[in-house]
């Protein structure tokens, strides 16, 4: 992990976002047993650096489309934390007013235009938003976040073909955490090098260590630059490990579907701790400053959960509201 060429302000931001994503996840996990968040949660612990690194390169009015494991994307794009937590608590004050839940986060005020829980479903939406940007020539970039299993869906290839054909400003970000629920990538894909596939459409592809926020930041900067300059789409595969099960807290069946050597190897690196070590070693941050950052994040999380818990539930008589616009 090398911070050369990145200014201090950006590094500080990256640290704040990675830490915030981690801490929000841990708080959800800690409180989930209370059964007040009555929605499936797909934690992204272990994958925080990807969302943080990519979104740090985006403008507020750039577009992001997320997936079922979307808490990190929402936070990194600057989504309102209170509204996100309220959505997990099924409240009317939630970002989707209690109609979406954890898998359908949205905050249009920061360009997070939605999250689909159909694997690969959000990919063409990002291409479509990019097409609108191209038609309007507004220089916005769209980003689609999706997992390794989405690279098994036909819609990805249809989308890449069209995006390349029309040279659309879209960046495909594949977060490869190696597991689709309990199935390992090697049990599902004939060729596990996902970046070979965009190359078939002449789309530049980047390999990112998804545990390394600096790598994610630097390579996505390049990819986003390609898209914004009108050269067409770019593709990033970020490899990171899913520290928890597919959904919910913990990973109680870990021993039954993961190989211990694989687990041990991947758990050697921590996107948060390793980054912190580098920042301290390079005297970019002090322990004291980091403690202050973490304290501020904790306060923000306390306030978000407090807001969510105290918020009103949707009204039953408004069941059909929002069906049509």
């Amino acid at each position: 992990m090398k911070t050369t060429g990145i200014d201090k302000h950006t590094l500080l931001n990256l640290y704040i976002i990675v830490s915030k994503i981690r801490k929000v996840q841990l708080r959800i996990e800690q409180l989930y047993h209370e059964d007040e968040m009555k929605t499936p949660v797909h934690l992204c612990i272990g994958q925080e650096a990807i969302a943080a690194g990519v979104c740090e390169n985006l403008e507020r009015d750039d577009y992001v489309f997320s997936n079922h494991r979307g808490h990190g994307h929402y936070i990194a794009k600057g989504g309102d934390l209170k509204a996100m937590v309220a959505e997990l608590y099924c409240k009317e004050t939630g970002c989707s007013r209690g109609r979406g839940g954890s898998m359908h986060l949205v905050d249009t005020s920061v360009g997070l235009l939605g999250s689909s829980s159909i694997v690969g479903g959000g990919i063409p939406l990002a291409v479509g938003a990019a097409m609108a940007s191209a038609l309007k020539n507004d220089k916005r970039v769209s980003v689609a976040f999706f997992g390794d299993a989405a690279s098994e869906e036909g819609v990805l290839y249809e989308s890449m073909n069209f995006a390349a054909l029309k040279k659309l400003p879209v960046v495909f970000v594949c977060e490869n955490n190696f597991y689709s629920v309990y199935s390992h990538q090697s049990a599902r894909q004939a060729n596990t090098d996902i970046t070979t596939r965009p190359k078939a459409f002449n789309i530049p592809a980047y390999n990112v260590d998804g545990r390394d926020v600096i790598d994610a930041y630097k390579k996505s900067k390049e990819a986003i630059c390609v898209a914004r300059s009108g050269k067409g789409p770019a593709f990033i595969e970020c490899r990171a490990y899913r520290w928890r099960g597919h959904a919910g807290p913990g990973d109680s069946l870990k021993a039954k579907y993961r190989k211990s050597d694989e687990w041990n190897e991947w758990m050697k690196c921590c996107p948060l701790k390793d980054f912190k070590k580098v920042l301290i070693n390079e005297t970019i941050l002090t322990e004291e400053k980091i403690n202050q950052i973490n304290k501020d994040i904790d306060t923000e999380i306390d306030e978000a959960f407090d807001f969510a818990q105290k918020s009103p539930l949707p009204k039953k008589e408004e069941l059909t509201k929002y069906l049509y616009s």
């Binding site: 359908h104 159909i118 990019a130 097409m131």
Partner: protein
């Protein structure tokens, strides 16, 4: 496709409400084309996409030369990637565009069902009103000349089942233009299904931009003995049947719902209140379909008006066959409507 030309020449001209009158008339595809042309001119956010929209025949004339007039950025051919292209249209709609996505056949929409049913229809609700999808998806039901199982489906029963969609099925050139304008102006995903055999139909179409509200049916013919609800092309068949029934002293009222979602329940119930009898003639499978839905609505809300059992006319529970003999057995028409009316009006 050369056979479409042959088929057109063989087909019987459509019903004309303005026969012999000196009014401006357009064919059904010309009316669609004019609607698209005027929508493109009026709103820079409208664009038209689909496989063959810039072809030399302009998708049976519905998009003829629109690419030349409005530019290839706004009227463009698409790869055969129905699912992604639907999602792409949805994504563009989410950021303020008003896409119109044309398909040759509803059969192909099955390839796009994930984006239609899991995405387009649900985003407004699932994001608590924080998303809107102003999108029109058009397709043309094929029929005859051995088009068979995968080029003749209607499938509006499937679309009616899905909350969040709107569903439009015009039967006249006038309605085609007016409903198209409403569909493009609507902030929700609209499935707009045309019928190939209506393309020969011509009728009065005003030159100016006008719209017909979604959810408003129309009484095509006043009558007192039996209500016939016709869907799409079956409106024409019902009108022909009504003329023959009149010769036998049976006075049929023809209702054209024009949009199936939202459905103008009142116009149907008010008619049944008057006639006491209901036939629904559809261009789709009867089982679990639109005819069954309308029958259920009337059974629930208008049972007390009924003097005879509700009758559904539509396709039998088999795929569309190819041989013209089997096609004749498959498609109901004027005679079926007449016989059914005679059965319940005594």
């Amino acid at each position: 496709m050369p056979w479409t030309k042959i088929l057109i020449e063989k087909q019987v001209p459509g019903y004309d409400a303005h026969a012999g009158q000196d009014v401006r008339k357009l064919t059904f595809p010309e009316a669609i084309r004019e609607g698209l042309d005027q929508a493109l001119a009026r709103d820079k956010n409208v664009f038209v996409m689909g496989q063959g929209v810039d072809d030399p025949l302009g998708m049976f004339g519905t998009t003829l030369d629109l690419d030349k007039k409005h530019g290839r950025d706004r009227v463009f051919d698409t790869p055969l990637s129905e699912n992604a292209l639907t999602g792409i249209a949805v994504g563009a709609a989410l950021v303020g565009m008003r896409p119109v996505y044309l398909h040759n056949r509803p059969d192909f929409l099955l390839l796009a069902m994930d984006q239609i049913a899991n995405h387009a229809s649900k985003l407004s609700y699932m994001f608590g009103g924080n998303a809107k999808v102003p999108l029109v998806i058009m397709a043309v039901i094929g029929r005859g000349w051995g088009s068979a199982a995968q080029h003749s489906q209607a499938l509006h029963g499937l679309f009616m089942h899905i909350p969040g969609l709107k569903l439009v099925m015009p039967s006249t050139a006038y309605d085609a233009k007016g409903l198209l304008i409403s569909s493009i102006a609507d902030n929700n995903p609209v499935i707009f299904i045309k019928y190939r055999w209506l393309f020969k139909h011509s009728g009065h179409v005003p030159e100016e931009l006008y719209s017909i509200p979604l959810g408003k049916g129309i009484v095509r013919r006043q009558g007192k003995d039996v209500t016939i609800v016709g869907i799409s092309y079956m409106v024409i068949e019902a009108l022909r049947a009504a003329e023959k029934l009149q010769e036998n002293g049976c006075d049929a009222e023809i209702i054209d719902p024009r949009t199936l979602k939202p459905l103008d329940e009142d116009i149907i119930l008010n008619s049944v209140r008057k006639t006491g009898r209901l036939i629904i003639a559809d261009t789709d499978w009867v089982t679990g379909g639109v005819a069954s839905e309308i029958a259920a609505i009337v059974a629930e809300k208008g049972f007390k008006y009924l003097k005879a059992p509700i009758k559904r006319i539509g396709w039998p529970d088999v795929p569309t066959p190819s041989s013209y003999v089997l096609e004749q057995a498959f498609y109901p028409g004027v005679e079926d409507i007449i016989n059914t009316a005679k059965e319940i009006v005594k």
